[in-house]
């Protein structure tokens, strides 16, 4: 009897305390996120309604920066460059990452597998600044790539690959490749090997097996890889700034420069645009992948029926 009563008391007081416990547990994170993150963003957002004239900030409520950003063709060119680079980098990293992930997933020797995994993920541990420096050395006028191209007789004077879009794309693919390999590898190594075996028992060749079994099964991995790489590219700053040398103007580089000359309204509007577009891209890629997979599964169903 006594013990049951004690339990009831325990239960009751526990129930009473949960609100307090919960609040105490959440308090540190709420304080940090509320003040630093939300506070910072709100103040920053507030600046998007200020005016900037002749190098001076004027407090106010004005849509001037929004209007300028959306109507001036200069900004649309900027947006175009940013999206074009992100698109190119995503495409290239997908083309390089898929075979790499496929190869790693299919390897049976653990040693070889470990080595390839190390090669893929080592660059991730090295600072983006360091890797950009490496590409600057490789791509410069008298650098290794041009030395190689001249030796091979592809060019006589050497290509200019630095301080332009080509260089930025080459370096960005290098920096974001692991983010494409990982989700694809994850899906490929989880997929059921018996499906492939079944397809081959039914007489499908290796290419057909790949196209009808492996590739559709990895759609999810490809979608999340594309999502990650594309949004990372849209917001990449270090590499475009260093390899572009100020001559490749992307949105993050532009935002940085506007901050340096304290044009905070314009920086805020461009940042907002960047944020919204990366969210929209994520949603679109997700939707696209879902639709693709849905259509495939329906087709499969019809084949059985």
């Amino acid at each position: 009897m006594n013990r049951i009563a004690e339990r009831i008391v325990n239960l009751y007081s526990f129930g009473n305390r949960t609100w307090v416990t919960r609040l105490l547990l959440l308090l540190p994170a709420l304080a940090l996120m509320g003040i630093v993150y939300l506070g910072g963003l709100l103040i920053f957002g507030r600046y998007s309604f200020d005016m900037y004239e002749n190098g001076k900030l004027i407090r106010g409520w004005d849509w001037g920066a929004y209007r300028a950003f959306l109507s001036d063709p200069y900004y649309w060119k900027l947006i175009g460059t940013t999206f074009r680079i992100a698109f190119k980098v995503t495409l290239w990293s997908l083309m390089l990452a898929y075979p790499l992930a496929y190869c790693i997933a299919g390897l049976k020797k653990p040693g070889m597998k470990q080595l390839l995994l190390l090669l893929t993920f080592l660059p991730l541990l090295v600072s983006a600044v360091v890797r950009s420096y490496g590409w600057q050395l490789l791509l410069s006028k008298q650098g290794f790539m041009n030395w190689l191209f001249i030796r091979l007789g592809l060019t006589e004077e050497g290509f200019s690959m630095i301080y332009n879009e080509t260089g930025v794309v080459v370096a960005l693919v290098h920096i974001f490749l692991p983010f494409m390999v990982f989700p694809i590898l994850n899906v490929l190594s989880q997929s059921d090997a018996s499906l492939k075996a079944a397809a081959q028992d039914l007489g499908a060749g290796s290419w057909r097996t790949f196209l009808t079994i492996t590739l559709p099964l990895s759609a999810r991995g490809i979608a999340s890889g594309v999502q990650i790489v594309f949004t990372l590219c849209l917001t990449a700053f270090t590499t475009p700034q260093l390899i572009g040398g100020g001559r490749v103007m992307t949105l993050p580089v532009f935002i940085y420069q506007r901050t340096l000359d304290t044009n905070w309204p314009m920086a805020a509007v461009a940042s907002l645009f960047l944020l919204v577009s990366s969210i929209v891209v994520s949603l679109l890629v997700n939707k696209g992948a879902e639709m693709l997979m849905f259509r495939r599964s329906r087709k499969g169903g019809q084949a059985y029926g």
Binding site: T18, L26, I43, F44, C103, G106, L107, R131, A193, F237
Partner: protein
């Protein structure tokens, strides 16, 4: 496994080899440049020398920057681990209406463009009169890495057996005692994992720190970034080599830790493969 024809397989291996070279080339180039005697951007280098390594010992700003980086990253990771673990406990163990929204809010710094956050921090911390120092950076970076902690610790918490906690409670342990003797030991691994991911991530942050810091509190990536914009002598290659060695050491440590925990290696495909070939 799959029989595929020889030619395709060979082609695949050649392609993967080329990708591997592409991945390694910049790092190799940096190593070569660090011991080359001419100007940094010229290939092939004219001769071999260790003078840039000697030069590094005179560049005290890099050592100071390295120290700043260590302080800032450690501080930010600890702050994120503490606040993130407590918040994850509240969200997972005492769920309440709206906890999903809170989780989304705490996770949202992940999608926020880092350059935006950097500027927002600059404005906020200037108003609070703490901009320029490492303390401001620690606060700002902690926000950026909080999502890693919340995701990893949160999913580990969700996988814990409530029976263990209930048993402890039945035996008379208070909530604090349950947390320290039952929950925390079981979270060890995800704390370590999210901590190391967060550490690697903050150590490399440029955007948030570039605008925020004063010259005497520059972190290593910022120091390198600004040095690279101004000069390009091989000293920076030497610093990079040191950083690459540091990264390699870190990778080995993480790998050793992972090896000691069996369930986790399947994340990298290693163990699963072994088991399959064994059966």
């Amino acid at each position: 496994m799959v029989k595929s024809n020889r030619g395709t397989k060979l082609l695949l291996y050649i392609f993967v080899g080329a990708v591997a070279i592409y991945l390694l080339l910049p790092l190799l180039m940096i190593m070569l440049t660090s011991v080359g005697s001419g100007s940094a951007s010229k290939f092939p280098p004219e001769g071999l020398t260790l003078k840039w390594y000697a030069n590094l010992s005179e560049q005290t700003q890099f050592l100071a920057a390295f120290k700043n980086s260590l302080i800032a990253s450690t501080g930010a990771v600890l702050l994120a681990l503490i606040t993130g673990t407590l918040a994850a406990l509240a969200i997972v163990q005492y769920p309440f209406p709206g906890s999903g929204i809170l989780r989304g809010f705490f996770g949202s710094p992940m999608v926020m463009p880092k350059i935006t956050l950097g500027i927002a921090y600059l404005i906020l911390f200037s108003k609070m009169h703490i901009a320029g120092g490492l303390f401001a950076l620690i606060l700002g970076e902690a926000v950026i890495v909080l999502p890693f902690v919340l995701t990893l610790v949160g999913s580990a918490l969700a996988n814990l057996q409530p029976a263990h906690r209930e048993a402890a409670a039945d035996l008379g342990a208070g909530p604090l005692r349950i947390f320290f003797t039952i929950t925390l030991p079981q979270l060890r691994l995800s704390l370590l994992l999210s901590g190391s991911i967060a550490f690697v991530f903050t150590f490399d942050q440029v955007e948030a720190a570039l605008l925020l810091l004063r010259q005497d509190s520059y972190t290593l990536p910022i120091q390198l970034f600004l040095y690279m914009e101004k000069w390009q002598d091989p000293t920076i290659a030497v610093v990079s080599v040191v950083l690459i060695a540091f990264a390699l050491a870190l990778f080995m440590i993480i790998k050793l830790v992972l090896r000691s925990v069996p369930g986790l290696e399947s994340l990298f495909g290693g163990r699963k493969n072994k088991r399959r070939s064994g059966s």
